[in-house]
Symmetry: D2
Subunit: 402 residues, 4 copies
């Protein structure tokens, strides 16, 4: 790789919602953190020449292109950042890994287990050649989530009994909301399940250090036909004025019960029909010694119940996770000056840059992301088989297979 | 019945936690509400002569006895109030109904579907003779819950998509907590499922006006052996200092996914292992037009999201349910002066007295309580059958059968 | 006094809002607490013969009368409970004390310092003869408030720096709300200041163990003329349909800054114009080692920030004050089963009965209540003198003077 | 001015806490908003050559200098952004305005009224020549605050009765926290009063559209002597290990009661001794038709009580201010994806750039900031004069005088 000393040259594919979030992070990370290498925003790639040129100018990329194959093969690119919909992750990632690039790929890793397995295998192979890879489960880098992880790892919860996770949104409650790509299986792979359910699967496994071993699931598509879209941006979209409609081919909601390998019982719910819940990723972990609870809509806060305190003083402590003692925060503002959603990406870039610069393995790896995919797959299977208990293929096997 | 004019003479069986709560309600209801009849606390029954005498004196019952058969057959008793553990409900209720008494029976109605079915049949028969019966799902009478019901019935939520219910407690997290009667199947029928899961089943069906048609479930007993108890009171207990232990024969936690007959998808969780959650009965209902959310630990509050408001003003309104316009509250204190847990029982007695005095059918009837029992039964079956989808026997069939 | 053994015979004057709350407490206290003596609700007194008869029947008093002088002189009355508006407190209390009765008097103790001083002196004199007296600052007996007191007394807050107290209501925001007695100085003495401001003065002094030494104040009457009332109940009332109006002669709001004798700086606000705040008595105490915060609308909760915990775990703990380890609560329900406003009165009666039965001095004494009156007086003076700093006459002097 | 077309060339003085926040905003604003001109980060100025070079590199400024006079006179600079402590604001701003630069000056505008008056006069003069100026009360640009302003301006609160504002921090509770520049009057002008009290004065006046006409105040310095500092950053600092100490010459806390010209009564409190409150800028506005409440620690939320709704549905709505319909938010993330503290600066830069590009007057102007200074001055005077009521010099007079 042609890394200019202390510079990591990034090429990004895709420039929509995720592309904007990643750009903000790449722009900011060098300005806030003192890192062994600095990211340089070399080029962005998109299908529409005019739009990608506009995006490059607005988001701060030096160059732009419509040819992702050219991008991932440029000798002056060190990192390929994949921000496209899930149906193109595998192809781009495999090419980038083959070209010896470090790869950061948005979640879910792929739309199918087969693709994810191939990617994990390729990542393992590329690792031998020095190329690193990471999947963008950015919420691991929310400081409160990282603090949860620390507290659990320190044994503060004792034996974990319950995991209670939901990711509630409401952006398609209106039956007239159009049939955007996220509602079409051929592009997105699945609906709420893969889009937001994947986040809570990864997050709870990360925090608890336990893996889901089996599930019983139900999925539902409440609105089965929707108007075709004219344009969309982020999660917003306009419907075609005409009467043309198309079938929704993904789940609107997915709920499942799970068992984790450390003995915990888990409940999971991902839905886009929870009216009033905008981005309510909520996780609660009950252990024999305490409980942790988190809500992404209040991402600077963590609730911690410490059952080892004197009984008369026990209560849920709302920790404002903005102290310099908290993960990622020494670089930001004074206590109580809160951060936002986008900071999780800046933290992700920080860790990825550090890993690349030092040769350490970033996490979540493609193998870890494959394991999430296996859980998603088990959910789909269980839902198809009358909710009957369905084992998740063990991650080790999966990785070994790769 | 020998009802003194405008007086309803009550005999209560059991005087522990539920007996104390019912006594407080019987004592208070006449003092707060202007009713067509007044309750008179005639006699209380318990197995231990000394303890029941002490309880009668303390709780304010005129007489006491150790013979419940005598009590339910006394000609001067109008209402029999059953506050014993579930294993004796059926026998006492059947005898009381046979004696022509009005019967108020604590939940769950019985420990088995067979018993519940017999009770519902007997209630239907007794009804012809003028005796009324009701099951004590007291949380229906929390004003915020009654307000939820009103708002849903008024169509304010539109089409209901999601029901999200949990009842979380933590009083047996400690493995040294003793093996009280609530942990022994032969007395309690089931564990968290029947004790607190029954509440959320009834409450969500009541609020939505929908019935659960099928479930997929998992149950778990985290601590399988516990020390034998020496004494217990309410939910507190002391363990025997000796090393004697016994097996826990009920579930510590039960989680299930459900479908309701109006199209809603439901998630349910009942557990006694949610550290820090003391009495967290939480229900959220998402509809196409809005959402309602309730937490029993803050029972004077109801959260309401009205999606028909202007977008920039939408939000979860924390309604402090203490206005005289709210259900049950015109008799209590000025706005903002909150009420407590016990008031739900006072409201229950108010409605039961009014029903008895006017000859109206109180709700929940034994038939409704039987339907809850059928759901509990489906949960147990599904859990035993690898979580496979299990239909709930329709309530109408159940009632007809009776 | 003709105390039947283990029985304390109560006569109550007044039967409106406070009378109903006290009755509920007298009815309940013997049933919940195991006390050295039991209260017996002998007689209630009111001006309207028909209404007081109805009240006696409804609230559970054995007898009724329209002659308070007769009541306070009955040899078979042990305790006189004064629930009338403030303008009659002094006359009734002085007579009752002269008759050797124990006296429980609602707050504020009186409408003027002169009256309060006379009452405190009489109480001191009566004490010598064995008659005890207490002023009804019931919020001291909210368990969370008692817990605050304990934590401060145990030194958990360190040196107290700030007291931040407000009591916000909104029942007269509407200019058409009628001119009830609480808005007429000749009956009520003052407006928000004496009615609810007195509560936060007493509560913060009690919790901190510090006394207010000086104040700077502003008062305001936003609506200066109101329609005359036809009838009222609690804080609700109907206006006369006719056009007759009268002047509001009390403050709608009173705000003041205070210094406390232990070095704390205090801010106080009492208002009936805080739209949406129904009964928001809020107190926050900041000390060098921690902070406590309380809100009466969530009276079962106490927020405690312990600054001696590890920095990364510090946060406001929401203590659900429902454990048997918490003040007053071992007699009530299991953890998480919340109590309400009225329970503060039951706890007050418990402590008063215990004091009377054991001959201990109940608190707050009339002398303590006089000191609150002196603070109220200083507030009025400061407001009249352009908010200039006004010293509060020291309580010891006041007591000695009496 | 030598503005490159569509480019505004910025020179910033100071690079500490505020400098870092402003840099983040200047870097980001062009990337998120579509503006008539783009900011270019030309040069940063600081006293220490090495540190400013490091800061320029880290924060993304093209050049750096130690000579602010040179900077503000460079012909290729369009905007001077002043981020130094208050004692140098006047000198730098006056020079920049004299040089015809647009000036953005951090708050408080100056350390004295005299300086502020001179600055406002200079700004008025410079305005005639086309140079614009603005004071950095950035919290006006928090979306929830801007929404408050809109709702009040739309008459949704009716007649405003109460303003309740506090800004609570706790970073100097420890008596060993060193004597940083913010605690020395000669540099900072005042303590909590000017640093954070100024924010709540500006914010409440902005939101209500009312100005403070008079105040009664108390200030306090709890810890009068502190160790000398070795180094500081943001609000954090280390004390000298040696025993050298110095006197604290500013207030630790300032509390005051105010009247606003529209008839509202206000309470204000600014303190650095509210243990556990990290950045708790809280404002509540009570009007005859509703209430708004805001807390900067949850800056994405606004609580709105609409008293015109049906009584049974009234409650405080927690509006998650993240919709594209909300101020500033259409450029950011999907609903529920929250933003942070730093975004208020990005929004500020957006508005300032737009004003400069279109020749509109930005707000708050120096004249508005002078009026805040006059309020601060009245607070200091009242505190010195035994809290006696002190009128605020009318803003119009102040501006005219300038």
């Amino acid at each position: 790789m042609s890394t200019t000393e202390n510079e990591l040259r990034v090429g990004m594919v895709g420039y929509a919602f995720m592309g904007a979030a990643h750009s903000q992070a790449w722009r900011t990370v060098n300005r806030v953190y003192d890192l062994p290498a600095r990211a340089r925003m070399v080029a962005v790639c998109g299908r529409d020449a005019g739009k990608v040129a506009e995006a490059a100018d607005r988001l701060g990329w030096e160059e732009h292109t419509t040819d992702w194959r050219e991008l991932v093969n440029r000798p002056d690119i060190d990192i390929v950042d994949i921000c496209t919909p899930g149906d193109s992750h595998a192809e781009i990632a495999l090419a980038a890994l083959a070209a010896g690039k470090h790869v950061l790929c948005e979640k879910p890793l792929a739309n199918t287990v087969a693709e994810a397995r191939e990617m994990a295998a390729a990542a393992a192979t590329a690792r031998a050649g020095g190329a690193l890879s990471m999947c963008g489960f950015n919420y691991r880098r929310v400081p409160a989530v990282a603090l949860m992880r620390q507290l659990v790892a320190d044994g503060r919860l004792g034996e974990i009994r319950h995991v209670r996770a939901s990711y509630l949104q409401d952006w398609i409650v209106d039956p007239q909301f159009p049939l955007v790509w996220r509602l079409r299986k051929e592009v997105s792979g699945s609906g709420a399940l893969g889009d937001i359910g994947a986040h809570i699967i990864d997050l709870t496994q990360y925090v608890t250090g336990q893996q889901i071993t089996g599930v019983s699931a139900v999925t539902e598509t409440f609105v089965k036909e929707r108007p075709l879209p004219t344009e969309s941006s982020g999660l917003a979209a306009q419907a075609d004025g005409a009467t043309a409609t198309g079938p929704v081919t993904v789940d609107d909601a997915a709920v499942f019960v799970a068992r984790l390998d450390g003995g915990a019982l888990g409940t999971y719910e991902a839905t886009r029909f929870a009216t009033g819940r905008k981005n309510a990723l909520r996780v609660e972990i009950n252990g024999s010694l305490g409980t942790l609870a988190f809500d992404l809509e209040r991402l600077n806060e963590l609730e911690y119940y410490d059952a080892t305190r004197p009984v008369a003083e026990q209560g849920f402590s709302r920790i404002l996770v903005t102290e310099s003692e908290h993960p990622y925060l020494s670089a930001w503002w004074p206590p109580g000056h809160i951060i936002g959603y986008e900071h999780s990406f800046t933290h992700q870039m920080r860790d990825f840059i550090e890993a690349v610069a030092t040769g350490a393995d970033p996490s979540p790896s493609f193998a870890e992301a494959l394991q999430v995919q296996l859980v998603l797959d088990a959910v789909v299977q269980s839902a198809e088989l009358g909710s009957s208990w369905t084992k998740v293929e063990p991650a080790l096997t999966a990785v070994t297979a790769a």
